[in-house]
Amino acid sequence: MRIGILSFAHLHAENYMAVMQKMPDVEVVGIADENMERGQYFAKMFNVKLFDSYAALLAEKLDGVIVCSENSKHLPLVKLAAEAGVHVLCEKPLATTVADAQAIVDICKKAGVLLMTAFPMRFSTVALEIKKLIDSGKLGQIYGFNTTNQGALPEFHQGENLPFLKRDWFVDKALAGGGAITDHTVHLADMLRWYLQSEVVEVFATTNAIMHAAKVSVETGGLVMLTFANGVFASVDCSWSKPAYYPTWGGLTMELVAENGLATMDAAKQYTTVYSQKIGRPLWYGWGSDSNAGMLREFVDAVNGKRTPAVTGEDGVKAAEIVTAAYESAATDQPVKLT
């Protein structure tokens, strides 16, 4: 299977590339990036061909592409890919507006290409255990979820200190769509929809911009309450509240309280703590299974089997609706109904 990557703006592109290069049935044909400097850097790092333009890469009879651009640029890139008849795995969030997200779905449907939204948590071995537990019915009636998807300010996600490697678009409202809510609500929103097989009917959010106030203007602290059609409610802490010197970038946690008991999850809590004099602060080195590997396997299998992937574009639209409602709620101080 011939795969390409469109843009390395999103940090996940690096991991996707590393995973795909190990997949025996995948040939990474190359990458394209509107930032040529960045493109050259990663082409060299992964020893793959850099194409002059997205169109040039898409002309290579690809089977699939992964879109890893800034959030607001997903739509034009997916459109290019769909028009070239190439199946698409699009980074989350699918788009910065519901209209763009829906347009992405419509364009792919019309072009007859598969569309998958990159929600890797559905492939986390840890998250899957909770899914199995819920599906077994052993928990009885589910009462609620207390969850977090916190992280450091995304600008810190960088390797070498080179200007074209800066990921500051994450805190640029025009490019990212917003701040912490956009970045960190969609994973849990999607997981909870998947767990409960029920849709969100109401969203409340309260936010602030106290942390990193000198650096960014978007919200850095956020609490979101999701209420589902089946009556279950869930709070999501999406804050960029992990300090730069925290032992890891952040994490995803969940407490699930139900009629028959409690289930807890700390998705990244498969790590070894390393105290290195060279590094100067403790670090958590994760050794758990890579969710991205499972997600990319599903994309490749879906394309091979010409079947709908386990996570769809519609799932991306639903997440975008929830994020949009969260911003509306934060602005109006009242819950927002979703239909």
């Binding site: 602290g221 209420t227 009556g231 409610f233 300090p243 407490e255 819950p335």
Partner: protein, 320 residues
């Protein structure tokens, strides 16, 4: 809670005078333990003491505090201060007028891990507080006399009686609360026996707080945790962080209960609390928790109940 407070007072250089309760056998058992008498009316007990410690069901605090104030006695009152804002205001006014102390037993302020976190924030070590998280969940209570905790009219239920610990602490750390949004199991499914709640506080300075509370765990389980994120640092106290000991005994081939407490302290928070109250009464120390703090915590709890019932965000000003 009367037994817990009595045990704490007994460690101090004060004289326990007596016990008064509608449950005579319980009163007798406690009085015997400390070789003191039982009193068949609050009036008679008040005649015999300098300080009264009120550990009755919440809805009775109002009447008893007014009676104690009228008798000119200093008062220690269990949290929540009262069942309604009007009651609390009247109690505060009566104590002011009678010039007696009204000390609200928000014991969390005296628990070492919480007191330490407050001190860390006050020293500026994590900068300006932005996002706080608190967890407090247990099994459905069955320990209270006549199980009054299960009567919402008397106790306010889990959203008030249990979660008020964290409302008070959150407010102590991050300042006054402006508005409250809450979801609860009983709000979603009225008539549920158990309860589970998620309450979001918005403080006047912009800080936001997530409080989780539950009367829904398996019997014997109790979990608390907190996290305070500021613009210059983070304080974490996860559920499993206070376990200095691990003792895993076998009994008939099964796991047995631990024979010793897993989190031993030289002085339990209840004793620290009454020691402080004694200092307030004898040395004029400024109370760490004021009666107004007790009122403010009550208002947050009542706003949470109102929000979970109506589905709206509720302003604290609405429950004034």
């Amino acid at each position: 809670m009367g037994r817990t407070h009595a045990a704490a007072w007994a460690k101090l250089p004060v004289k326990l005078v007596g016990v008064c309760s509608t449950d005579q056998s319980r009163a007798k058992a406690l009085a015997d333990q400390y070789s003191v008498g039982t009193f068949d009316s609050l009036e008679k007990l008040l005649d015999a003491v300098d300080v009264i410690d009120i550990c009755t069901p919440t809805h009775l605090h109002h009447e008893m505090v007014l009676q104690a104030a009228k008798a000119g006695k200093h008062i220690v009152c269990e949290k929540p201060l009262a069942r309604t804002v009007a009651q609390a205001r009247e109690m505060i006014a009566a104590c002011k007028k009678a010039n007696v102390q009204l000390l609200v037993a928000h014991v969390l302020r005296f628990a070492p891990q919480y007191a330490q976190a407050k001190a860390v924030v006050d020293r500026g070590e994590i900068g300006k507080v932005a996002v706080q998280r608190f967890t407090r969940c247990s099994a459905l209570p069955n320990w209270a006399s006549d199980n009054w905790l299960m009567d919402v009219e008397k106790s306010g239920g889990m959203l008030l009686d249990l979660m008020i610990h964290d409302y008070d602490f959150a407010r102590w750390v991050a300042g006054d609360v402006e508005s409250v949004f809450a979801k609860s199991l009983r709000g979603q499914k009225p008539g549920s026996k158990e309860d589970y709640g998620l309450v979001m506080l918005r403080h006047k300075n912009g800080a936001i707080t997530n409080v989780e509370g539950g009367w829904a765990y398996a019997p014997g389980m109790f979990r608390t945790a907190f996290e305070i994120a500021g613009d210059a640092g983070l304080i974490e106290h996860p559920v499993d962080s206070s376990t200095p000991l691990g003792v895993y005994m076998k009994q008939n081939g099964e796991v047995a209960d631990a024979p010793i407490p897993v989190n031993p302290l030289a002085e339990d928070p209840y004793t620290t609390q009454v020691k402080h109250f004694l200092d307030v009464l004898e040395k004029g120390t400024t109370p760490i928790v004021s009666a107004e703090d007790g009122l403010a915590a009550l208002q947050i709890g009542l706003a949470a109940i109102e929000s979970s019932r109506t589905g709206r965000q509720v302003q604290i000003a609405e429950v004034a």
